[in-house]
C-alpha cells in the first residue's frame, strides 16, 4: 500500500514505514536512545530527502520518548532533577549548535562534518561500551565483588555540589550542565536527539545507575526533539506530519515492547547490545566515507 508524503513529495510503502518505526521504537524503549542515529540514515536510504528525514524523525522521537518515559516513570526510573539540569545545558548547547550548523552549511561541508562526527562519536562510544560490557560480564562470571559505582576524579572537586537522590549521586551541578551542553551542540549538528552520546556520558562520566539513566535520558530527549521539531517546522517547513504519523504508530508500539524486554535484561547486557549496534552503524558510515560514490556529481538540494 503506497502512501504519498506531502512535504517529502514522494510516495512510500506504508508498511515499510510502520515496520521501520516499530524497529526504531523497540530500540528506543530498550536502550533509551531516541533512535535518530538509525532512523535518519534509514529514511534517506528509502529516498526521503535528508532535510525532511532529519526534521521529521525529531518529531517522531518525541512520541516514542514520551511513550517510553511513562513506562520508566511508573517504575520510578526517571531522575527529574538530573533531567532538568541536563536540559538547561541542552537548550544552551543546541542554540550554539544551530549557529555552528549554519556556519558549516555556508562552507558547504556540513555533510562531511555530520559523517565524520558520527564515525568519531559512534566509534568511541561503541568501543567503550563493548569493552566495558564484556569486562563487566567476565567479572560476574567469576563471581567477583560488584564494582564501585564510580571513581572520584577532578570533576568532583567542582563547586555547586548538589544531591541527586534518584541517581544516588552527590556531585557538582556543573558536570551534568556541561554534558547537556555538549550533547546539545552535537544533537544540533548531527540532527539526532543525542541519546546515544548522553547515555554513555551519564553512565561513565556521572556514574549514574543504568536503570535511571534510560528514563532520564528519554525525559531530556523529549524536550530537545520538541525544540528541533519546532525550529525545523518554523524555519524550513521540512516536518512531514504524514511521515511522522506513520513512523510514530510503529514506534509507539515498538517502544512499549522494547521497554518490557529491557526490564527483563540486565544492565550489562543492555550496554553490550547497544555497544554492538553502535559499532555496526559506525563501521557502515566509516566504510561509506572511503567508498567511491555512485557518481561524483550529485544534486545538492536546495540553493
Amino acid at each position: 500500500m503506497q502512501i504519498y508524503l506531502p512535504i517529502a513529495e514522494m510516495s512510500v510503502n506504508a508498511f515499510l514505514l510502520l515496520g521501520l518505526g516499530g524497529v526504531i521504537g523497540f530500540l528506543s524503549g530498550l536502550f533509551g536512545v531516541g533512535g535518530g542515529f538509525l532512523m535518519t540514515p534509514m529514511l534517506i536510504f528509502v529516498g526521503v530527502p535528508p532535510v525532511v528525514a532529519v526534521a521529521t524523525q525529531a518529531n517522531n522521537i518525541i512520541a516514542s520518548s514520551v511513550s517510553g518515559v511513562f513506562a520508566h516513570w511508573r517504575r520510578g526510573n526517571v531522575d527529574f532533577k538530573m533531567g532538568w539540569v541536563l536540559l538547561a545545558g541542552g537548550f544552551a548547547g543546541s542554540t550554539v549548535g544551530v549557529g555552528l550548523f549554519s556556519l558549516l552549511r555556508g562552507l558547504g561541508q556540513i555533510d562531511l562534518v555530520i559523517n565524520l562526527s558520527y564515525v568519531v562519536f559512534l566509534g568511541t562510544i561503541g568501543a567503550l561500551m563493548l569493552v566495558e560490557g564484556t569486562r563487566a560480564m567476565m567479572r560476574r562470571r567469576r563471581k567477583a565483588a560488584p564494582r564501585k559505582l564510580h571513581q572520584h576524579s577532578w570533576m568532583h572537586g567542582l563547586p555547586l555540589k548538589t544531591r541527586f537522590r534518584k541517581s544516588r549521586l552527590y556531585i557538582s551541578a556543573l558536570v551534568p550542565l556541561g554534558i547537556g551542553f555538549g550533547v546539545g551542540v552535537l544533537s544540533a549538528i548531527m540532527g539526532v536527539g543525542g541519546g546515544f552520546v548522553l547515555i554513555p556520558a551519564m553512565i561513565y562520566m556521572l556514574g549514574m545507575p543504568t536503570a535511571v539513566v534510560i528514563g532520564t535520558s528519554l525525559f531530556q530527549i523529549i524536550f530537545v526533539a520538541a525544540n528541533v521539531t519546532f525550529l525545523q517546522a518554523a524555519q524550513n517547513q521540512t516536518v512531514d506530519v504524514v511521515l511522522a504519523m506513520m513512523l510514530l504508530i510503529g514506534s509507539v508500539a515498538g517502544a512499549q515492547v522494547g521497554t518490557r524486554v529491557g526490564s527483563r535484561l540486565q544492565g550489562d547486557w543492555l550496554r553490550l547490545l547497544l555497544g554492538i549496534l553502535v559499532v555496526i552503524v559506525c563501521v557502515k558510515l566509516f566504510v561509506d566515507l572511503f567508498t567511491p560514490p555512485v557518481d561524483i556529481y550529485s544534486l545538492g538540494g536546495s540553493l
Partner: protein, 268 residues
Amino acid sequence: MSRPDGAQHETPRLKRASMSLCAVFLAAVFVSALLYRVPLARANTLVADLSEHLIAITTGFSGANVLLFGATEDVGDIVVIVRGPRDPVLMRRKSRVAGIWINTASMAIDNVPGFYALATSKPLEEITSESVRRRHQMGVENLPIAPPTAKASPNIGAQWKNGLIRARQRSGLFQREVGHVSFLGRRLFRTRVSLPANVPTGSYLVQVFHLQNGRVVSSQTTPLFVSKVGVEAEIFDFAHNRSALYGVIAILVALVAGWLGHVVFRKG
C-alpha cells in the same frame, strides 16, 4: 509570418489609418499564403490532446499515466516531449581528499526542467538530423542546461551537464527510455506518458512535433498540470503558510500519540 511591407505606408489621417492598415495586412497575409503554403498548412496537419490535463496528487498517489492521442493529415513521424517546471538546481562534485570522498566543487545551474520524457514513432536518429534535434531540444542531451561559459569552460560545463542528467535519471525524473508513439492506421497516433511518484508539482508542457523528411512541418503544445489536492494540499499549504503553528501541532500530535501508546499498552 513575414511583416507586410504595406504596413510602412501609413496615412496621416488617423480615422482611415487603422482600416487601411487592416486591408494591407490581410492582403499581405493572402499573398504570403499563396507564396508559402506551409504556414497555413502547419496549423492543420496535427491535432493532439491528452486524456487528462490535471494530475491530482492524493494520499494514494503512486505515479500516473496520461494518454496522448492525436491525428495528422499526412504520413510522417511524431516526436513527443514532456517537460516539467523549470527550476535552478545546485550541483556538487566530489573528489578524493586523503582517501575520503568530499564535495569539493559546486555549480548552480538555471532553468533545469523538473521532468523530461521523450516519445517517438521511430528511433530519433532515423527521424531527423542532429541540428533539428538540438533546435527543438529533442533528447536530454539537447537540453540547454550546461552552466554558463563565464563559470565553466565548455569542456567542464559538459561534464557538469552530464552529471546533472545522470543524477536526474537516477531519480527517474529524466526518463532513460524513449517512449514509443504508435500509429493506428496511417494518421492516428497515441502514446502513454508515465509520471513517477516523485514528480514535482507545477505546470508541464507537452510538445508534439510532426516531422516529414526530417523537417518539422507542424507542432502543438498542450499544458499539463500536476498539483496536490485534498488533504495533501492542505497539509502542504498549512506547513508553508502557518509554519510555527504547524510545528506546535506536530509536537502536540506526537505527545498525544506517545501518551496514547502508553495507555493502550498498559491495559493490554
